[in-house]
């Protein structure tokens, strides 16, 4: 099977497998720890069952995003997909591993270069209400950063802001307004205009359409696709909604409890999901085509990231789990060209 057969749109054919990675994560982790305070330490000395709490929000993830690609990152709550997105966008430092920006380690970049890298990666947030400063006018929200970073001058500022707004499908006549005077969909457009205003090449969308109504969601998704064509953008599209990800992505990465469990070109993953978790996810997603379907549901709950199960995180809910799954963490291995999965079952069959 040739790798190109899985690549569809013109943009991704141009990008191909050979395109240079914009960003590469190697064994990246993020731990949040809550250290014991003074009283806690005394209690511990006295034998109380308290200890430092550490959450492995992201646990040794490898991820590559190449120029021109749309990578979908899918997972349920607590899987660390938003944390991963924030590390990619440079808002949050990683606690372990290395992040490479155009092949260079992010933390080796000089001040000006680091700022450039940060500006080149922008983020679109989930909540169109919380992501806009309620006390700033739209023009300032969109135009502040370009002015600060010298992308435009005071004299051209108005025209610059108008252009950014128009590109996101907003009427520049409303630029003197405040965010609360707009609907959810329009606010999301303001957020998009703000991100595009600093001329990024790579956009991280964190559940960018989850809070929108279906018909508005379609408008915003279309806008994302138009902008991709127009500006040659690269996306990391984080979502829990498989339908949206399927529609948009060239490649899909599935996460469960801080780890990547499967990664494959979009068509491949929806046709031949390998990991039992991916299979369950695909089976349970409500689809408009399915009528009076009987929902079954994989057993059990998503474990707390505070105390993830040993071995494969999915084994307590997995219908195929065997002894090895309970003790050994499965590695992410290539099972077909471009298709990787982290499951011991693949070794068993082979």
């Amino acid at each position: 099977m040739s790798t190109t057969s899985t690549v569809r749109s013109a943009a991704s054919v141009a990008a191909g497998e050979a395109a240079a990675p914009i960003i590469e994560l190697r064994n990246v982790s993020k731990r949040f720890s809550k250290k014991l305070d003074f009283a806690g330490k005394i209690a511990q000395k006295l034998g109380a069952p308290v200890k430092d709490e550490t959450v492995h929000a992201v646990d040794g993830v490898d991820l590559v995003v190449r120029k021109g690609e749309v990578v979908g990152l899918v997972g349920e709550s607590g899987c660390g997909k938003s944390t991963l997105g924030r590390m990619v966008a440079g808002i949050m430092p990683a606690s372990g591993g290395e992040i490479f920006w155009h092949g260079r380690p992010l933390n080796s970049l000089s001040g000006a270069e680091a700022r450039h890298a940060k500006l080149q990666t922008q983020m679109i947030f989930q909540d169109p209400y919380a992501s806009l400063n309620p006390r700033m006018r739209v023009a300032d929200i969109v135009g502040e950063a370009p002015l600060v970073h010298g992308l435009t001058r005071r004299a051209e500022w108005d025209a610059y802001v108008d252009n950014q707004m128009r590109r996101a499908g907003l009427d520049p006549a409303f630029k003197r307004r405040y965010p609360h005077q707009f609907s959810g969909g329009q606010r999301q457009r303001i957020g998009i205009a703000r991100a595009l205003a600093v001329q990024p090449e790579f956009i991280v969308c964190d559940e960018a359409v989850a809070a929108l109504d279906v018909s508005i969601q379609a408008q915003i998704l279309n806008l994302f696709m138009e902008l991709r064509q127009e500006l040659n953008l690269t996306y990391l599209f984080i979502s829990h909604d498989l339908g949206v990800v399927e529609h948009l992505s060239d490649r899909v990465v599935i996460m469960y409890l801080g780890r990547v469990v499967e990664e494959a070109p979009a068509e491949e993953i929806f046709a031949r999901a390998n990991h039992p978790y991916t299979q369950a996810l695909l089976a349970e997603v409500p689809r408009i085509e399915a009528r009076k379907k009987s929902f079954a549901g994989i057993k059990g709950e998503i474990p707390s990231p505070l105390a993830p199960p040993p071995g494969c995180h999915f084994h307590p809910r997995c219908p195929h789990a065997f002894d090895r799954c309970r003790v050994e963490r499965p590695a992410l291995k290539e099972i077909a060209p471009g298709h990787k999965s982290a499951c011991h079952l693949n070794d068993k069959v082979a």
Binding site: D213, S215, V244, E246, E284, P286, I302
Partner: protein
């Protein structure tokens, strides 16, 4: 089309058995400083025993207010200004607050999007459940506990005996919603109004809850109104569907018929907006514009400013009329059926009684 004709036709469409709930031309308005908000303005539907009605709409369509109206939970400045809510023939819109309280939580129950609307964070689950049982039935405390335990087991909560002694915050989101559902089920209600109960949950957890709900409706004969914005959930769960737009039901019918062959341009657009219905990577069929403010609705059909099929006569108010057998829509220019039958004609023709 006259009002009486409309009612006879919708009644003919219903099954022979009397429906659990029949809502007729419900109107709930909010009298705000900025003007009268007609949140619900002429909503009619029926739900039969053991059936699930999907009440679908986007934000601001009035779907939630409809649900709240049925339970008499609309607070000032809103109130029901017209229409009937017939629960086994009894008009709920006319009931006194005290009589309504007797029904609520007993024969009619509600499940909220946020389970903490139902649960009290400072009380143990058993306290809350036993209290709920004792509020409407005269049984001993032990029997009440027994029933609470059985109900928790019924909604798929493992080891209900231990879980009864927990506080709400000790449950995960999905489990908490199950507890809320269990409380709603304590009195084996004949009608449950569920307001987006799985929207905040993960896909695998949502599937578990939908499975429980499906089983319960089939086993107990409870009628259910499932209020949601998610067409995909309704597709898998409901028997009938009512699509709301700007305070009105614009289309009604059996789920498979409405979703396969939508008559109203809004329903058509909504289905087209769902990504899985479109070819991957292609442009989604979007509905232009956005939901109009309920304070400044255009006269006539509220959808006409966004509608690709709108014509001049849409400035008049279309009535919800039976365009195909069992299929109602509020539109002068519905989408023509693919099977070539003259749907356009049936608008004026009306339906045989």
């Amino acid at each position: 089309m006259s009002q009486t004709q409309m009612q006879t036709s919708s009644r003919a469409a219903a099954t022979a058995a009397a429906p659990t709930l029949e809502v007729r031309d419900l109107q709930t308005h909010f009298f705000t400083r900025a003007g009268v908000v007609k949140a619900v303005d002429g909503v009619s539907f029926t739900v039969g025993r053991g059936k699930v009605l999907g009440l679908v709409g986007e934000s601001g369509s009035g779907k939630t207010v409809t649900g709240f109206s049925i339970l008499g939970l609309v607070d000032a400045p809103g109130r029901i200004v017209g229409g009937e809510i017939l629960f086994h023939g009894q008009n709920l819109a006319r009931l006194k607050e005290e009589e309504m309280r007797q029904l609520r939580g007993n024969r009619i129950a509600m499940i909220f999007q946020d389970p903490m609307m139902t649960l009290n964070p400072v009380l143990r689950v058993d306290t809350q459940m036993i209290e709920t049982v004792l509020a409407h039935t005269k049984v001993s405390k032990e029997e009440a506990r027994q029933r609470a335990r059985d109900t928790l087991g019924m909604v798929g909560i493992p080891s209900p005996d231990e879980r009864l002694k927990s506080y709400p915050h000790q449950f995960s989101g999905g489990m908490r919603q199950r507890v809320a559902i269990a409380i709603a089920l304590l009195h084996r209600p004949e009608l449950i109004v569920a307001d987006e109960p799985t929207t905040a949950l993960d896909v695998t957890i949502q599937a578990q809850i939908l499975a429980e709900v499906q089983k319960l409706c089939a086993e107990t004969g409870t009628a259910m109104i499932w209020v949601t914005h998610d067409l995909s959930v309704v597709a898998g769960l409901a028997d009938d569907i009512a699509v709301m737009y700007a305070g009105r039901v614009v289309e009604r019918g059996a789920v498979s018929e409405v979703l396969d062959q939508p008559l109203h341009p809004y329903t058509h657009g909504l289905i087209g907006s769902v990504p899985s219905r479109n070819k991957r990577g292609e442009k989604l069929r979007q509905i232009p514009g956005m939901t109009p403010s309920l304070l400044s609705l255009p006269p006539g059909c509220a959808f006409r400013t966004r509608c690709p099929r709108a014509q001049e006569d849409c400035a008049r108010d279309p009535a919800l009329s039976e365009l195909l057998p069992g299929r109602l829509a509020r539109c002068f220019h519905p989408h023509v059926a693919t099977h070539g039958s003259a749907v356009q004609g049936s608008v004026t023709q009306g339906s045989p009684a």
